[in-house]
């Protein structure tokens, strides 16, 4: 048994008090770690998905909804826009690139996105297997889609109408998987990509009753959204203004809307962070009270330790070690709980085909959290340790137990 071992035994001599302190500290740490781990992954994921997009254009509606639907693929789109708008914007000298997105179908909750190969290039998507789509009804599947649904190049699947899981199946117009993407930790992982023509083909086949209908639908072809890249910074002033002036068109600047989104979410995160800090603070006060009581209750034990030859600083070290045990256990439990909760959230989000969050993700903030908890516990132990140093050994050894 070492001094640390003795501190451990003293700690568990009052198991209920130790358990309460541990619970308070570990819950505070867990809440903080959960916020740090999830926050960092969500922010990283969203920033990654926003990279390279200067403007999102879609049907009139909420700009934030446009971003959520067109960039993060988390919300339903505001509607469709005519194909002519794509041609017009492509002809605008201020616009360097227009990537059309045609949404509307899904595969067991994963969205089928009709687009151009530029969309792959936007996220530097790499093929892990097979090739990119060339002809209509050829599809490339993202990493998560391929893994979850077990899709391989050469296999066929039928999309279903709508973005939910219970849409009507387009069984008569099946897609063929021609490629599988490597993991990119971006939105591509949870998408099924195909040409815009594929989406048109499926819907024209589904909705047209005869050849005349098909021709009419061909003439009214639409896309859901467009992702724009500017040629010059000046475009940020003129292009959105021009878009918003058009009938049925709405622009959304990702930088502005994501900042608005983070601000809105940030209030909730701040409240949770404050609550976590409060829990850690209450834990520290609880450790302080527990150690003060422990020193008071254990004064004869401490006096005996002095009698056996321990210098006063050794008693102080014993009290500090007890606080260290508590804080180390509290942070270890809190880290495990925080990361575990993040993993549970990750599983829930994966079931909803949403953002990727994993439990085994570490942030530098966690290190600061650990340092803060240990420092708080040490600070809480300082006064009890001082009391231990100043024990009147002679008096205490005559005190009845």
């Amino acid at each position: 048994m070492s001094l640390a071992g003795l501190a451990w035994r003293f700690l568990w001599a009052r198991p209920l008090v130790a358990a309460l302190n541990l619970a308070l500290l570990s819950l505070g740490v867990a809440a903080m770690v959960f916020l740090l781990v999830v926050g960092a992954q969500v922010e990283r994921s969203l920033q990654r998905d926003l990279t390279g997009i200067d403007l999102v254009v879609g049907a009139k509606g909420s700009p934030l909804q446009l971003i959520l639907a067109g960039v993060f693929h988390l919300d339903v789109p505001t509607g469709n826009v005519p194909l002519a708008a794509v041609q017009t914007l492509r002809g605008n000298p201020m616009v360097a690139q227009v990537i059309p997105l045609a949404l509307g179908d899904s595969l067991r909750g994963y969205r089928i996105v009709g687009t151009t190969p530029d969309y792959l290039a936007l996220y530097a998507g790499q093929l892990e297997q097979g090739r990119s789509w060339v002809a209509p009804l050829e599809a490339v599947v993202g990493q998560q889609v391929a893994r979850e649904l077990g899709l391989q190049p050469g296999q066929r699947f039928a999309g279903s109408h709508g973005l939910g899981r219970d849409g009507e199946s387009h069984g008569s117009v099946p897609y063929t998987v021609v490629g599988r993407l490597a993991r990119c930790d971006c939105v591509l992982d949870r998408l099924v990509l195909t040409g815009v023509e594929s989406v048109w083909a499926v819907h024209e086949h589904h909705e047209a009753e005869d050849v005349q209908d098909q021709k009419a639908l061909r003439d009214e072809r639409e896309v859901t959204l467009m992702l724009l890249k500017y040629r010059s910074p000046l475009a940020a002033v003129t292009v959105p203004r021009w878009v918003n002036a058009q009938d049925g068109l709405q622009s959304a600047a990702p930088a502005l809307e994501s900042a608005r989104l983070f601000r809105m979410v940030g209030v909730g995160v701040d409240v949770l962070r404050g609550f976590a800090m409060l829990l850690i603070g209450v834990g520290a006060v609880s450790v302080f009270v527990a150690l003060l009581h422990a020193v008071r209750d254990r004064e004869p034990d401490l006096a005996m330790i002095r009698m056996l030859g321990a210098p006063p600083r050794r008693l102080a070290a014993l009290i500090m070690l007890e606080a260290l045990w508590l804080s180390a256990l509290g942070t270890a439990l809190g880290l495990a709980l925080g990361h575990g909760l993040a993993q549970v959230l990750g599983w829930t989000l994966a079931r909803d085909r949403s953002l990727t969050v994993v439990g085994l993700y570490w942030t530098p903030g966690e290190l600061w959290c650990i340092v803060a908890v240990v420092a708080l516990a040490m600070a809480a132990a300082a006064l009890p340790a001082r009391r231990a140093i100043r024990l009147d050994v002679t008096r205490l050894l005559q005190t009845p137990r």
Binding site: L6, F10, P300, R306, V393
Partner: protein, 219 residues
């Protein structure tokens, strides 16, 4: 050995406690007696190095305690002294074995388990190693406290009122045990007591009798 020469100690706002000159050789048995307030506890604290002598000389186990710093007295106490306090003060949260191990832990030494096991066997308390103090009888607890005092092979054993609340038979057993163990490790044995039966049981012991100080005006 134990040597007191012109030793006195005064608590703040209290009368000076003046101790008689006294000499006892190494391995001697010494009985410290005197009425309440005569300074028995103070002399034990001085002999244990918990208090620093203010006047005079105090030599315990060959060391002049008046010439040592507090840190030196702490180290010396751990290496030289075995103490059995009146209330025993076994730690309630620890097992018997851990209570004994505390003697090593207190001075930062690795626990010598073979020494602990040997002591437990010698004092016939080997079967109690895993028990907690509240599971022990008074006699068993006294043996454990004695074992704790002997763990580091002291050259001086300080025992405070070892016979309090014991009947005649138990007193004889405790004194016999103290006498036997002190002889076994060749330690000087200092027993603070006001029980006349102790003196009768240890007729060869040297008596160090203290008297209550007379009242004096403190300037």
């Amino acid at each position: 050995m134990l040597s007191l020469r012109g030793l006195s100690y005064r608590y703040p706002a209290g009368p000076a406690l003046v101790f008689p000159d006294f000499e006892a050789p190494a391995g001697a048995r010494v009985l410290l007696s005197g009425p309440s307030g005569s300074g028995k506890s103070t002399l034990i604290a001085l002999c244990a190095g918990l208090l620093a002598p203010q006047q005079g000389a105090l030599r315990v186990a060959g060391q002049d305690l008046s010439a040592m710093t507090a840190a030196q007295r702490d180290a010396w106490r751990g290496a030289t002294l075995g103490v059995v306090p009146q209330r025993l003060h076994l730690s309630a949260g620890l097992t018997v074995l851990d209570n004994l191990a505390m003697s090593f832990v207190s001075v930062g030494m690795p626990v010598d388990r073979s020494r602990l096991e040997m002591l437990l066997g010698e004092l016939d308390i080997g079967a109690l190693a895993g028990r907690r103090p509240h599971q022990l009888s008074v006699g068993q607890a006294q043996r454990v406290a004695l074992a704790r005092a002997l763990v580091r092979q002291p050259t001086m054993l300080l025992v405070d009122e070892p016979t309090a609340n014991l009947d005649d038979e138990a007193i004889a057993a405790v004194l016999q045990l103290l006498e036997r163990t002190a002889r076994h490790v060749n330690a000087t044995l200092l027993i603070a007591t006001h029980d006349a039966r102790v003196a009768q049981s240890l007729p060869e012991a040297k008596l160090l009798r203290l008297t209550r100080p007379t009242a004096e005006v403190v300037a």
